[in-house]
């Protein structure tokens, strides 16, 4: 096996192998476990760097494993979209690993946690690198299986109930996706991801059937992507530990769903063919509904993580909106928001976790004056929150700008109103929080304070949100630099729309 076909497997292996080993480690072997975790994350990042370099120089990376006779293969393939998602996953995995090690210090079942954590990342990377629908499906379901134990990790009745709800949604979604995929295979004969869409190349397919398949696929993917009304599992899943919420909401589950929708619209159907089928319109409406609904629900949540959860429901649909508005600029906006929202949301969740761990604060009503007590954490939170609202020159502004511009360019003016309204709502549920934390007087005592000496909290809990907040600023300020997420998104889009 040469380098070209082996690299992708290696990238998968850097989280799979440590994960499997960690399962067998006794709880007390902290040093080995930490080394495996960090080692795997670092090696993965290095290999992803090699991958990026290779793709830019024209290397074709592909791994094929025959799954069924008759040409059905498990295909790992690195095209521009996969590289975007893989890089995001690798960077954020490293950061979250550091955070998780700090957050879970001294708690039970860490070997089990980190084992499944690594499996979860493996599944996410597999989703990113999937080269056809069946590979995507395999890793998508693996994602469900590896995230369930993370949600129920704490073992409380609430956690187990949340896990049950999660399973109901995701297994049903997986079943819909399976039916859609098999049907697609039957109709199209192949479902390799190809630019401009593999379905678009069919001559005599029945349009009703294709529409039905599209609905099934989007429904199956929409569960993980938290499209209304399939989003019900997401707020319940907030009962999981903060590193899990961070990973689920920034990288793994919701992004896998949104990424899948992008793949289906761009590489299975082809965006122009999908538009001619008439499915992109309803999809855009659905995305817009989700955006508004999520933001509205967020306004009324007092629990910080739940507010962030509904914010995620809303924000991930920007990505879907980007592809559903048929136009290159909007697609750029959606794709780049995949990265930006990941960075911003993970920062917010890291901060929420810090507040809970250090001070026992879970609700926004308890957050008065917390900026004095934990200035660095809340600084990161402020940057990320402003980014979510869309304040220039932060990352969120870039994505919203492109989305709005793209909507106008494609003649879908109503989208601009949705974007504006959603930004207003974002401001509505973030600005009061920021005001309270910085300008209101703190209470006499925090619910459950832990002391870290002169630092505001442990290093492992503080560094990650600072790093990601910095990236939020960089992604916005340096958006026109080469290799920024924005440039990458534009590169992807030219391949989809160019003649």
């Amino acid at each position: 096996m040469n380098w070209d076909s082996g690299l992708l497997l290696l990238i998968l292996a850097t989280s799979l192998v440590p994960g499997l080993v960690i399962f067998f480690l006794p709880e007390e072997r902290v040093a080995i476990r930490t080394t495996l975790n960090m080692g795997g994350a670092v090696v993965k990042l290095v290999l992803v760097g090699v991958l990026i370099w290779g793709v830019l120089h024209g290397h074709q990376y592909e791994t094929r494993l025959p799954l069924l006779p008759g040409g059905l293969d498990l295909v790992l393939h690195a095209d521009a979209e996969s590289v975007l998602f893989v890089t995001l996953s690798a960077v954020l995995w490293l950061v979250t690993t550091i955070y998780a090690i700090g957050y879970l210090e001294g708690s039970q079942h860490r070997s089990r946690f980190f084992g499944f954590f690594s499996l979860c990342v493996t599944a996410t990377v597999g989703v990113a690198l999937a080269g056809n629908m069946i590979t995507f499906l395999v890793f998508y379901e693996l994602l469900t299986l590896s995230t369930y134990p993370l949600i129920v990790h704490r073992g409380t009745e609430e956690a187990r109930q949340a896990g049950r709800v999660y399973l109901r949604y995701t297994i049903a979604g997986g079943a819909l996706l399976l039916v859609g995929t098999v049907w697609l295979y039957d109709v199209a004969g192949s479902f390799e991801f190809t630019h401009r869409g593999v379905v678009a190349g069919l001559d005599d397919a029945d349009r009703t059937v294709l529409t039905a398949i599209f609905v099934l696929l989007i429904a199956g993917l929409g569960v993980k992507a938290a499209l209304v009304p399939l989003h019900g599992w997401l707020p319940r899943a907030m009962v999981a530990p903060a590193p899990v919420s961070a990973l689920l909401h920034a990288v793994a589950v919701v992004k896998a769903g949104a990424f899948g929708i992008v793949r289906v619209v761009d590489d299975v159907y082809g965006v122009e063919f999908a538009a001619s089928l008439g499915v992109t319109g309803p999809l855009a409406v659905l995305a817009a509904t989700t955006i508004v609904y999520g933001s509205l629900r967020a306004l009324f949540q007092d629990n910080l993580k739940r507010r962030l959860a509904y914010s995620t429901v809303s924000q991930v649909s920007y990505i879907v909106l980007g592809v559903a508005v048929v136009g290159p600029i909007a697609t750029v906006g959606g794709l780049v928001h995949l990265v930006h929202q990941g960075l911003m949301k993970i920062t917010l969740f890291f901060c929420a976790g810090n507040l809970a761990e250090t001070l026992g604060v879970h609700n926004i009503s308890d957050m008065n004056g917390i900026g004095r007590r934990m200035p660095w954490t809340m600084a990161a939170f402020t940057i990320a929150a402003l980014g979510m609202i869309g304040v220039p020159p932060l990352a969120g502004f870039v994505s919203k700008w492109y989305l709005g511009l793209g909507a106008l360019d494609a003649g879908q003016d109503w989208v601009v109103f949705i974007l504006a309204g959603s930004s207003l709502l974002n401001a509505g549920y973030f600005l009061p929080v920021l005001y309270a934390t910085w300008f209101k007087a703190p209470p006499d005592a925090w619910p459950a304070e832990r002391s870290y000496g002169r630092r505001e909290t442990a290093w492992a809990l503080l560094a990650p949100p600072l790093v990601t907040a910095l990236l939020v600023v960089a992604a916005g300020l340096l958006a026109s630099a080469p290799f920024s997420p924005l440039q990458w998104a534009r590169f992807i889009t030219t391949q989809e729309y160019a003649p």
């Binding site: 025959p66 006779p69 089990r112 395999v138 039916v179 049907w183």
Partner: protein
């Protein structure tokens, strides 16, 4: 050396070796465990030899003792029998290792001869080339299975065994009557000859109907499944494993041979009916499994449901559908054996198998829970596993034939399965402290369960090779509607 290996009568040895082993275990009871394990390893070796032979030389036919059909017995090994033999060998080895740690001496001396005898009957059944030999081996299989069920000795086990025996005898007699009618119509019991001479007539319809009824009773297809849950649940754990994994497979195998080789037109005619019964089994078994409070009964009802999936291949009728059903059978054997073994570990550890009280036990047995979860993944049909491959193939065939309602059943069955599997797995993540005495579980028992479960999952990644095996010899290479 290679020539010697290729020319040995592996097919005959595969039958004689476990028989010799059973006799030896019976005669030297104090050494029955090591002798039994040796016998198991020997059978695996013989099956490997047979595999080599069939892959190199194509389907094999042996005339035992030099007397050919119709007075003598022929043995026939094609891809299908080879695959089933290999599956039996792997699961059988696992069960043997598990049993060496499970039984106390008093029961072990009775278990080993019976188990090896059952294995003999099963191997002979898979290699039989005529329908009367199938009857004889089927009866032998049934009798040894009944004796094994009764091994546990309690009132539940004994009544379940009695019911199983009566049902089994009924099924075999219906089958035999069919054999009589077929012989009268065509003058031979050899499968290949019957396939050539087959013509439709009322006698043939009656014969095939009788034979199918008997075999459906033995495969526990709804509504003839009533005997299975009590028998599988009250037997000792290794026996439950071999019943669910291997014994129900045998009657399905005969049914498959019958419908595919001897009487293809029947498959087309009765296909929708069998599919409907299979669909009912999938839904009924799943719902019943969900309602159970005891783990072994849950797993037994799961077997009823899984057997239902196999019958969905009948209305679909394409080669891809049959292969999918067989792959499901293959994965089910591994996964179900692993599940029963996991249940046995839990029983041994905690003294009970009540699902509601599993939380006190589950956390202390991570290997066992892992085995149960992996096996559950295959049974649910989630990737990557053999169960997923089989499910995919059946779904593909359903869409290809435009019979989308079977796809619906497959999906709903999968959802029900997920419900009852996760009901059990969820207990691994509770906070309960262990509150009572726990007995040690031997490592061999935990690891066997895990290895078999892993095998079920790995079947999902290495599917092309076993599927290619099925192409050797009739009935999957040509002759069957694509």
């Amino acid at each position: 050396m290679e020539v010697a290996v290729e020319n040995m009568p592996w097919g005959v040895m595969v039958i004689l070796l476990p028989l010799a082993g059973a006799l030896v275990c019976f005669l030297w009871p104090r050494r029955s465990v090591p002798l039994g394990l040796l016998g198991a390893l020997g059978v695996v070796a013989c099956v490997t030899g047979l595999c080599w032979q069939v892959v190199e030389q194509g389907a094999q036919r042996y005339t035992v003792g030099g007397w050919g059909a119709p007075l003598g017995i022929d043995l026939y090994a094609d891809g299908l029998s080879l695959l089933m033999l290999m599956m039996t060998a792997v699961v059988g080895l696992g069960i043997s290792i598990y049993s060496s740690g499970y039984f106390e001496h008093k029961t072990a001396v009775v278990f080993w001869p019976l188990w090896l005898f059952l294995w003999t009957a099963l191997n002979a059944l898979l290699l039989s080339a005529d329908i009367f030999n199938l009857y004889v081996t089927l009866e032998l299989l049934g009798l040894s299975a009944v004796a094994l069920v009764a091994l546990a000795g309690g009132a539940d086990a004994l009544t379940a065994a009695m019911r199983y025996l009566l049902v089994g005898l009924l099924g075999s007699l219906c089958y035999l009557l069919g054999v009589a009618l077929l012989y009268h119509s065509f003058g031979s019991v050899d499968i290949a000859i019957l396939a050539e001479r087959m013509e439709l007539s009322p006698a043939v319809w009656a014969a095939v109907g009788l034979m199918s009824a008997g075999l459906l009773l033995k495969t526990a297809l709804f509504p003839l499944h009533f005997w299975l849950p009590p028998a599988h649940a009250s037997a000792p754990v290794p026996v439950s494993a071999l019943l669910s994994a291997l014994v129900v497979m045998a009657s399905f195998y005969i049914l498959l041979r019958l419908w595919l080789e001897v009487f293809p037109p029947g498959a087309a005619a009765a296909g929708q009916l069998l599919g409907l019964l299979g669909a009912t089994a999938v839904l009924w078994g799943g719902i019943q499994a969900l309602r159970q409070t005891r783990l072994k009964l849950l797993i037994a009802y799961s077997t009823v449901a899984q057997m239902g999936y196999l019958f969905l291949a009948f209305p679909l009728g394409t080669s891809f559908a049959w292969k999918g059903a067989l792959y499901l059978l293959l994965s089910h054997a591994m996964a179900k054996a692993a599940m029963f073994m996991a249940a046995g570990n839990i029983l041994r550890f905690g003294g009970h198998d009540r699902i509601a009280d599993l939380d006190r036990v589950a956390q202390r047995l991570p290997l066992t829970l892992a085995a149960f979860s992996l096996a559950g993944i295959s049974i649910m049909g989630l990737p990557p596993s053999g169960g997923f491959i089989g499910k995919w193939m059946l779904l593909d065939a359903a869409f290809y034939r435009g019979q989308w309602w079977w796809a619906l059943i497959l999906i709903m069955g999968g959802l029900l399965t997920a419900a009852y599997v996760f009901k059990v797995v969820g207990y691994a993540f509770t906070q309960a402290e262990v509150t009572h005495e726990a007995s040690r579980v031997p490592a061999g028992m935990e690891w066997t369960a895990l290895v078999l479960a892993l095998a079920a999952v790995l079947l999902g990644l290495f599917a092309p090779w076993p599927l290619a095996l099925l192409d050797i010899g009739f009935p999957f290479s040509g002759g069957c509607a694509e």
